[in-house]
Symmetry: C2
Subunit: 259 residues, 2 copies
């Protein structure tokens, strides 16, 4: 039974891409088949996975299939599933064209099920599907919501990010007749600060039962791993970041620590 998740937030820079990348690796290293979908015109996830050229250069390739071409039906979804060099980890690439997609295809704004229709035939080939989203709640991320069963919402325990949560949750309720399952994950947690302790408790009180027990601490290992083009499990396997993320995967996906 394929489990599909979208990484969603209104607030920018809370860790959507970082979580997508590292959770995907934890799942693939544990033997599961994982499909990643990069729905962000920024395409950090794609550049991370495909940017293995000299100096992490990201080879521009106008012939590369990507999610924008899939959504315009200029290529078949199964032809867009790219190998990443990691066993069991495939990627449908993002593209800058995502920003112009609505101008090219205005109808997409009224077809919230389009992405689901195009991607769900692929699902039986994967155990997990993770969709990385841009920091926006709009027609495009609505499509992601309709495609995935569940939602993971990273957040910083800080004022502006909390304001983003207050916008996101009503939007989720508005977007689907049955409220989607969503889990909030506290990221960049600085345990030794009163602010983060207080706001983390505040989030847990405001969204009871929705907040992952595992908080992911602020650590230089995560951006270092991104810089190296690696998951934190490869770059810093004994780090607090690796431990936090693996525990998070256990909590979110039931991933067994014995794996």
């Amino acid at each position: 039974m394929t489990q599909a998740y979208c990484l969603l937030s209104k607030k920018g820079g809370v860790g959507k891409t970082t979580f997508t990348l590292n959770c995907a690796h934890a799942l693939a290293f544990s033997g599961f088949r994982v499909l990643l979908v990069d729905l962000d015109a920024q395409s950090n996830l794609t550049k991370h996975l495909l940017g293995k050229g000299k100096d992490g250069a990201f080879p521009r390739d106008p012939d590369r299939p990507d999610i924008s071409k899939v959504m315009q039906q200029r290529c078949a979804a199964e032809d867009a599933c790219l190998e990443t060099g990691y066993t069991g980890l495939h990627l449908i690439a993002g593209s800058p064209d995502l920003d112009d997609l609505l101008l090219l295809n205005p109808r997409l704004a009224r077809e919230p099920m389009r992405l689901r229709a195009l991607l769900s035939p692929l699902f039986p080939s994967y155990d997990y599907v993770l969709i990385d989203c841009p920091p926006v709640l709009n027609w495009l991320t609505r499509m992601a919501l309709m495609t995935a069963g569940d939602v993971i919402v990273p957040t910083q325990p800080e004022a502006y990010a909390l304001q983003g949560l207050d916008d996101l949750v009503p939007w989720l309720d508005k977007m689907s007749s049955t409220a989607k399952l969503y889990r909030i994950v506290i990221n960049m947690y600085r345990a030794n600060t009163q602010l983060h302790q207080a706001l983390s408790s505040q989030i847990e009180k405001a969204y009871p039962g929705r907040v992952a027990k595992q908080r992911v601490r602020l650590t230089i290992d995560l951006p270092e791993a991104a810089r190296a083009g690696l998951s934190v499990f490869e770059h810093a396997p004994a780090s607090l970041a690796a431990i936090d993320l693996f525990s998070l995967c256990f909590e979110l996906f039931g991933l067994s620590p014995e794996a």
Copy 2:
């Protein structure tokens, strides 16, 4: 001679709102007249400045003038300049309606000078205008670019943010026939990490003459101040954050340290 700036980035969560808020306070506290424009549907800047209710509650007010109504010409720009409780600091509020604006007024996508036409009559009343933008490069932030003379681009010295810079600079060149003046500011700088030192140097080499010498360090004082609904100059006036930001204002705006 009014100086207008937009705070721009493709990458989310790099510090646009934090810089807008705190630089505006530094300027207003120094006796200048400052107009803030919140162009982000998230409206963190607006909620920060107007959210002085109990528990920082942000009073919903359908009659409040905001930038969305100004752009639809449902209210005059000068009527939208709200007092903030700080001398010399005015705000044109953001609104969630910014996300639907293009659906309501599709013509706006083809009128990049519209915002400038609506706001420039206000400029003579202010010494500085700062426009806080959402993390996107599109028709709306293009309007901000056309309205402001200069651009401030906060960035983290981390891989994904650097990828955002590589998208932003060509976009700036494409958007204006004379390349807009832009300054990159390194934010959330962790001086004791090899990663941040190396990537900061890399940014300086890639954008010679464009990167502010002053880097703003990662510090809990900035999110704490945001939580308190204050600028860092009020919340933690002797902090490294206050020093870094004031020095940055000196460098960016020629703000005198004797003020």
